[in-house]
Symmetry: C2
Subunit: 231 residues, 2 copies
C-alpha cells in the first residue's frame, strides 16, 4: 500500500527547513530510523552534500538520521537499502533528469508501490505526478521525457499561487498556464498551496493544512475542494 | 544582414495588442505590405485563426496586411512567400514544438540570416535565442529539443520581473532560476522587462524603451546595462 506525504513546499516563510511539518513527520516516520534523502533537484556535486546537511539538521530535531542517496556506490544500491525516502525540492527538470540518468524511475516506483514511506516536497511531489508538465520550474536541462512516477492519478502544481488582482504584469497567471496544459492533456492538475500537504495511504487521499486545493480538470471550471481525486 | 525587432511583450497593461509598439513598427515595416504571422505559440486549430485576427486588427492601424502562416498548404510555402515575419507570444514549448513539426527551424534561420524583417514578442523572442531553456512558460508539450534558432548569442528571459522584496512566497525568484541555469549552461541570459525591445541590425544591437536590461553571465554578478552582447 502506498504511503506518501506530499507537501507543496519544504519551507514556510520565516521558519526553518521542514519546521512547519515536523510534528506530522514525527508521526509519519514513527517506525523509521534513517531516511534516504534524494538531493537531485539541486545541481550536482557539493550542493548534494550541503542540501543533505540541511535535511540532516531538520530531522535531527525529531531524532532521525538522514543519508544522501548520492553517497552510495550507486543510486540503485541506495534505494535498495532505504528504509524511507525523502525527495527534496529544487528544479523538477534537474530532478527528473537525474532520476532517469540513475535508472531510478522503475525501481523507485516499485518501492513506493510496496509501501516505503515517501516524503516529497515541491519538485519531489511533481515527481510522483503523471508528468512534470505542470511544473513552475525553468527548463534548465532537457530530460529524456517529461513522464514521471505516476503514483497519483493527477499532476501537481506545487507552490500554487492565486492570480493577483492588482497585477499589471502581462505574463500568464498560473491558472491560464494550467488551462493551456489542458488543451493538450487530460490529466487533472492539483494546485497545492504552500502550507498544504496530501497524505496518501493506498487509495485514501487526505488534504492536510489550511483551506482547500484548486483542482483543474479538462473542460471544467476550476474548483476549490478538499476531495482529492484517487484512482 | 539580420533585421529583427525583439520585444519582451506584445501588450502593455491597459493598452491594446502591440499598441505601444505601433510607431516603431511603422518604421520597422516601412517597405513591407504584408506580414506573415506565426501563431504557433497558441494551441492549434481555431485559436490560430483568432490569434491571427488579433494581429490583423493591430496592423490595420498602420496600413499593413497580415496573413497566418497556417493558411498556406505548407508552412514552408508560407515562409517562402513571406515578405516579413511576426512570431507572436504564448507558450514557448508549444511554439518550438510546432517549428520542429513543420520543419521550419533551418529554413527560418536562413531567411532571418538573409535579412527578412523579423518581429518577435515574448515566446517569439525566446525562439531566436540559443535555446528556450530560460522561458517562464509551463512545459505543456515535450519538444524534440530545447535548442532554438540561435540568431542572437544569448538566451532571453521575456517578461523579466525583479524580485518582490515584500513577497512571502517560497517559490524561486526569476534571478535564482537563471542562476541555476548557469550551473549547467554558459549562455548569457538577457532579462528583458515589459516595455523594452531590442533592435538587431547585423551586429548592431540597440536597447529601446525605458531603463536597462538585466544581464546574467555564468560566474558573474547580474548587471544592469544597456549594452547588449552581440557576436
Amino acid at each position: 500500500m502506498t504511503n506518501m506525504l506530499l507537501a507543496s513546499t519544504s519551507t514556510m516563510f520565516g521558519s526553518a527547513f521542514l519546521e512547519y511539518l515536523l510534528p506530522e513527520l514525527e508521526i509519519f516516520f514513527e517506525n523509521v530510523d534513517t531516511i534516504t534523502f534524494v538531493p537531485y533537484a539541486r545541481p550536482s556535486g557539493a550542493s548534494h552534500d550541503s542540501y543533505t546537511q540541511t535535511a540532516q539538521e531538520a530531522f535531527k530535531k525529531i531524532g532521525k538520521k538522514v543519508v544522501g542517496i548520492h553517497t552510495y556506490d550507486s543510486a540503485i544500491e541506495g534505494l535498495e537499502k532505504a528504509e524511507a525516502i525523502f525527495v527534496g525540492g529544487g528544479n523538477s527538470f534537474v530532478l527528473l533528469n537525474a532520476i532517469y540518468e540513475n535508472g531510478l524511475l522503475e525501481p523507485l516506483r516499485e518501492r513506493i508501490k510496496a509501501g516505503i514511506p515517501y516524503l516529497g516536497s515541491s519538485a519531489g511531489i511533481n515527481l510522483v505526478g503523471k508528468s512534470i508538465a505542470t511544473t513552475n520550474d525553468m527548463p534548465i536541462v532537457y530530460p529524456p521525457s517529461f513522464l514521471a512516477l505516476h503514483m497519483v492519478p493527477f499532476n501537481f502544481n506545487a507552490h500554487y499561487l492565486d492570480p493577483d488582482p492588482k497585477s499589471t504584469h502581462k505574463g500568464e497567471t498560473r491558472e491560464t498556464r494550467i488551462q493551456e496544459f489542458h488543451t493538450y492533456n487530460e490529466t487533472p492538475v492539483l494546485g497545492l498551496r504552500e502550507g498544504n500537504w496530501i497524505r496518501v495511504q493506498g487509495n485514501d487521499y487526505t488534504l492536510c493544512g489550511p483551506g482547500t486545493v484548486r483542482l483543474f480538470r479538462k473542460g471544467k471550471a476550476a474548483e476549490e475542494t478538499d476531495l482529492i481525486p484517487s484512482e
